[in-house]
Each structure stands twice: as structure tokens, then as C-alpha cells.
């Protein structure tokens, strides 16, 4: 292997990247954009959900219950209607997430004693929102019910304690339960998959498409030198992106960072090498840029997005899909990122995730150079 030849390839690649201002802009702008998109756009902390009410009773008591809903930050009573079809229409047209129906004999039943039922019609097409909303609604009604019971007992000369159970929930590693803290570390994996696999596979596939790769190969350069020379500039760009992302995450979004910068750098470098090799392999295997882009999408971006634990927890997936996640490197990197950012897991305990990544590097380096040779024959 000759360092001069390797550097020559790298220099050519750098010049090409620098000349194409858009691609260069992408390298800087993309991580920032993705960070902002996911930092602000991915949020499940719901507040002010629109509610329609149909108060058949119109009494002091029913208004009281509605005030409890109004006081909750999670609900916003948008409109009072006077029939059930109006509620159904509002749910159909997504103008309301919930319709509350208070029966006509609400206050009468309350004064007679015994249970009264209030109906909540919930738009559950978004199951997650519905789930959280129903939990909040249950809490509001139960709070109201307890109040009613206490004042009833008091008016009969008996004393009753409110809320016999106090649930003290502590959410570890992400105390404010911010979606942001959970999402943003994983964005690094997305950014690097795009930089590593998309950009490299397309640039190299273009060389094949135009025939300039054959020209390069007729020179005394070896396959290894071509591969390393082509990938080195992208490695540098990728590491710059890691730095940009980490600074944004910590300084702008205030994501806790409890691990060490060294482990973050080592893990990121390792993952970057894996995706770069994958990108190189894809470009060798694919015949043209269209095929390369689709392959890069399916092999790197999609797993980083769906099968890495970035958004969706792996242990809730069907078992076969859980096995499949093991063959994609993104899974290990996302696990590393979450441990380094949120948990501050000591470096010695990160081996379970680092070793598979190292394994991928070795295997992919062998496969990529071999298929490169094969393609030339």
C-alpha cells in the first residue's frame, strides 16, 4: 500500500466535494436541519387537546365537572354542542379529540347517591394520543368524584381523606420526560447513515456509471488504496458532523450529557467506518445511482430510523423483527448514544455494543474489497 497514491485519491475526492457547493452545504446544513426537525417536531407531550362537550344537564354540578376539565392543562374545551351527532361530526372532522357527554340526570343522580356515568367519546385513530388522553381524563373525573364524596361525607358529619394513594413517579435519566432528550441522541445515527451511506454510495456509483472508475483502475493503484482514499474525506466530514450534532444537542437542546467525550468519539468513529464501508459496498454492488440510492435507503437509513430503537422500542417488536435488528449496525450505535448521553454508563460496560460494531468493520472491509475485486474481473 502506498500512502502517496492513497492521498492522491483522497485529495481528488476532497477537491470534488469542495467544488460541489451543494453537497458541501448538505454536510453542514443537514445535521442541523435534522436536529431541529426532530428536536422540535417529535413530541408526544400533549397539552390543550380540543374537547367538545354536550352537557345535557346544564346544572351547577355538571358545570363544575367541566371546570375541572378546563383547569387541566391537557384539555381545552373548544365548544359546547347540544346533540351527539355534532360531537360525532367533530371527531370525524378531527376538530375534537374527545367529546364529553354529561347525562341529563347528572345532578339529580348525584344528590340521590350512587354512581353516575359520564361518557367520553375519544378519537382513537391515533392510539398514542388517545391512550395518554384517556389516562388524563380518568384522573380528572376521579379527582372530581373524590371531591364530591368528601363533601357528601362532610355534610353528613363524617370525615374522609382525599386521595389515599400518592404516586410519586421518578423518571430516571430523563427527569422531565422530554421526548427531546430521548430522540436527539439518536439523530446522530440518522445523520451519519445519510452522510456515510448515501453520499459515498452515490459518488462512487457515479464513477462506475461514467466509467471513470475503470480509468482509475488501469493505474497502478490497489483496491485498498482506492477504498481508503475515497472514504477518508467522508470520514472527516462525518466526524465534523458528529461534533456539530453533539454541540447542538448539548448547548442548544440541553440534552444531558453524562458520559465522556472520548467514548462518544470512539463509538462514533467506529460506527462511521461501518456505514462508510457499507456505502462503498453498496456502490460496488449496485449498477447505477438509482439502484445505489434505493439500496442505501433500505440498508442504512431505514434500519437507522425504524430498527435501531431510535424512535420505537425494540423490545416491543415481534420477535423475528427483534432478531433482524441485530444484523443492522445502527442498533448498537443508538444504544451507545443513549447510554453515553443519558445514562453515563462507564466505558468498560460499553463493550457489548462496541464489539459488534468492530465485528461489522472487519467483515465489511473484507466483503467490500473482495466484491470490488470481483467486479473488476
Amino acid at each position: 500500500m502506498s500512502l502517496t497514491r492513497l492521498l492522491a485519491v483522497a485529495r481528488k475526492e476532497v477537491l470534488q466535494i469542495l467544488r460541489d457547493t451543494r453537497s458541501l452545504g448538505i454536510v453542514v446544513v443537514m445535521p442541523v436541519t435534522l436536529m431541529l426537525l426532530f428536536g422540535y417536531g417529535v413530541n408526544i407531550d400533549l397539552k390543550g387537546l380540543p374537547v367538545y362537550v354536550y352537557d345535557q344537564d346544564g346544572s351547577q354540578q355538571s358545570q363544575d365537572l367541566l371546570k375541572h376539565f378546563q383547569a387541566s392543562p391537557y384539555f381545552h374545551i373548544v365548544r359546547a354542542v347540544d346533540n351527539v351527532p355534532a360531537i360525532a361530526h367533530a371527531l370525524d372532522a378531527s376538530q375534537a379529540k374527545m367529546g364529553l357527554v354529561i347525562p341529563w340526570n347528572f345532578s339529580q343522580r348525584l344528590s340521590q347517591g350512587g354512581p353516575v356515568e359520564v361518557q367520553a367519546l375519544v378519537d382513537a385513530s391515533d392510539d398514542n394520543t388517545a391512550n395518554v388522553l384517556m389516562g388524563y381524563a380518568q384522573g380528572v373525573v376521579q379527582g372530581y368524584s373524590t371531591g364530591v364524596q368528601i363533601s357528601w361525607m362532610r355534610s353528613h358529619g363524617l370525615s374522609l381523606q382525599a386521595a389515599p394513594i400518592n404516586i410519586a413517579t421518578r423518571t430516571w435519566y430523563n427527569e422531565d420526560l422530554e421526548s427531546r432528550a430521548f430522540i436527539i441522541p439518536g439523530v446522530l445515527a440518522l445523520v451519519m447513515s445519510v452522510i456515510g451511506a448515501f453520499l459515498t454510495s452515490l459518488t462512487i456509483a457515479r464513477e462506475w456509471e461514467r466509467g471513470s472508475m475503470e480509468q482509475l483502475i488501469s493505474t497502478p493503484i490497489t483496491a485498498m488504496e482506492i477504498m481508503l482514499g475515497k472514504l477518508a474525506p467522508y470520514f472527516v466530514l462525518g466526524m465534523i458532523d458528529v461534533a456539530v450534532c453533539a454541540v447542538l444537542a448539548i448547548a442548544w437542546f440541553h440534552v444531558p450529557f453524562r458520559g465522556s467525550y472520548l467514548t462518544l468519539t470512539v463509538s462514533s468513529a467506529l460506527f462511521l467506518v461501518v456505514v462508510l464501508l457499507l456505502g462503498f459496498f453498496i456502490s460496488v454492488a449496485a449498477k447505477n445511482q438509482l439502484a445505489a440510492s434505493q439500496a442505501a435507503l433500505i440498508i442504512t437509513f431505514l434500519p437507522a430510523f425504524l430498527l435501531s430503537g431510535f424512535l420505537f422500542s425494540i423490545d416491543q417488536m415481534p420477535i423475528v423483527l427483534q432478531w433482524i435488528t441485530y444484523i443492522f449496525p445502527a442498533r448498537y450505535y443508538v444504544a451507545l448514544l443513549k447510554k453515553i448521553f443519558l445514562k453515563g454508563t462507564p466505558a468498560a460496560m460499553l463493550g457489548v455494543d462496541l464489539l459488534p460494531l468492530a465485528g461489522f468493520t472487519v467483515v465489511l472491509a473484507l466483503v467490500a474489497t473482495r466484491s470490488f475485486h470481483k467486479r473488476l474481473e
Binding site: 453537497s23 413530541n43 365537572l65 354512581p115 353516575v116 382513537a124 389515599p164 440510492s293 435507503l297
Partner: protein, 377 residues
Amino acid sequence: MFGRLKQMLIKELIQVVRDKRTRFILIGPPIIQMLVFGYAANFEIHNVSTVVVDMDHSQESRELISRFTSSPYFNVQEQLSDASRAHELIDQGKTTLALEIDAGFAQKLRNGETAPLQVIVDATNSNTALIASSYVSQIALGFAQQAQQEQIERIAPQVIEQVPSVQLEQRPWYNPDLRSRWFFVPGVIGSLTTVLVITLTSFAVVREREIGTLEQIMVTPIRPVEFILGKTLPFFLIGLFDALLIGAVGTFWFQIPFRGHFVVLLTGAVLFLICMLGMALLISTVSSTQQQAMVTAFFVIMPTITFSGFGFPISAMPHWMQLASYAIPLRYFLIVLRGTYLKGVGFDILWPQMAAMAGIGLFGLTMAISRFHKALD
């Protein structure tokens, strides 16, 4: 005009269908992505691994625990006698949730004092943590209600029938079992169509320019409008074909109910495809290489999918993002998709979405065509 247009259409379709790899790209990746999305995109939680630290060993504490043991959402793995061991298990990622009941729990309940239940959740996945804590509080609320009832029974057994209480009867419409898949799969049809149509169309146009065949075509008597129509119509058809293909996977494989009218969905899909074609043409006018087109397309697609409400509720986004989402055609198409699949609503409800897509589509297409003219002159 129609003779030339027909020739152009035939040429384009042959070009797409001739190549085995391109043929595969039209069918393979959409189906793979649909399957992965359908199985992986899931916010439901089941069997959250839970440990219990019961320091009270009373009938009450055991009853509370049994409510968790019998819930499908929690998988109570171990009963520990030491809180620090539970903390260790969470630190190691071996369990997600720890319930701690201190000594004196039952005594406090019997005395009518507030009894604390401590909950620790691993919130590295904030979604799991949010849903899990919502279930914890629902279970604990149920237990609290019963405890309160028992308290009343002890204080005043003679009046237990007369004490009023309010109950909430919740009816989750459209998706009664709260299945994540029902929410995601219709959305996947929209986002996959977006990715497919934008990349394929912009690649096809840019490739002609990159290879230099665009100039050759321009010296023929074909007019720009004919060229654009001839170039985009095949992808319109392909997009429609793929949307139907993915839709069929959703209906027949994932068993998502389709409650609306096919004509409504088809109208929405046609309008949406017009928007996407306009977008793809605009991308192709600003890109001179396929790599640039890919990168630009990526920049359009990522925000489109994030802003559209595909995975996360628009109402939880910051205000500026909510405003921006009105310019995104996918936002409207998702409402049409979920409206026809889950809600079974028709034109009377969905006309505003249809009108918005028609407006955006016409505007985008006009812009694209006029820019295209300029690019050719």
C-alpha cells in the same frame, strides 16, 4: 400533440420496465418498507419488565401488586426486598420499571392517611415511560378508588349505597383496541408514495440532463409541455400503482379496516400525486446531477414527513411548525388516508383537504413548468 406525447410515454415506460433492477425498485422496496414499518412502528407497550420492592408485606400491598401482575402492560419479574437492587437493575437496563411500597403502607391506608407508592421508570425512551406511567397511575387510581370505597364502608357502612360517585365511561372510536398499527399503516402509504414518486421522477429528469440526452430530445419537434407530461405521466401511473400495492398490503396482510369509499381515497391519491410530481419537477430544475437531486429530495422529504403528523401529533409541535405544516401536501393526504381507512368519512368532511391539495398541486405544477421553460431556454 397526442402522437408525440404517446411516443414519449411509450419510451419512458419501456425505459422503466426494461431494466430488471428498476422493475424490482418499483415493487421490492415499497413492500419491504411497508412490512418493516408495519411491524416496527409501534408505540403500544406490553409486558414492560417490572420489579417490585414490597417492604410492607400486607394484604393491601399484595393486592396492589396483584393488580400489576394481572395487567397485560406489566410483566412483574421479581419481588425484591431491597430498593438498591432495583436501582441497579434499572441502571443495567435489565428492567424498565420499579414499584416501591414502603413499610407502613397498609397502616396509613387504614388510618385514612395518604399512602405513598414510589415508581421509578427508565425514561431513556420517553414514550414508553410516558405510556407506562399513565398505566401505572390508572391502576393505582383504580386501587385508590377501591380503598376509598372501603374507607367509607368502615366509617359509615349504613350509607355506602347513598354516597355519590362519578365514573367515566370511555369509548375509543375508530380504533377500539388502540392498535398502533392501525394508526401507522395508512400513514405509511402516504409517506412511501412521497419518497418513491419524488426520488424516481427527479432522478429520471436529472439523468437525461446528466447524460446529455435532454438536449437531444429538445432538438426534436417535441414541445416542453409535451416533454414534461411525457416525463411525469409514467411516474404518476407508477405512483398510483405503488400506492395501491402498498394499500393492498395494508388491507390484506395487516388487516387494517377500510371503512370509507374507494373513490374518495382515489381522488385524494390523484391530487396528492399531482402535488408530488410538481415537487419532483421543481427539484429536478434546481439539480444538475443525480446526487444533487437525491440530496435535495432528501431535504424535502424529511421535513415533509416530520411536519405532516405521520408519527407525532401536529398539535404537540411548536406554533411555527404547526403553521408550516399547512404548506405540506402530505398533511392533507394523511387526513384523507386515515379518514377513509379508519373513520369511513367522505367528501362532505374531506373536501377542505382535497381543495388544499388541488391548490398546492396546481401552484407547484405551474411553477415547475414555468421554471422548466426557463431552464431550457
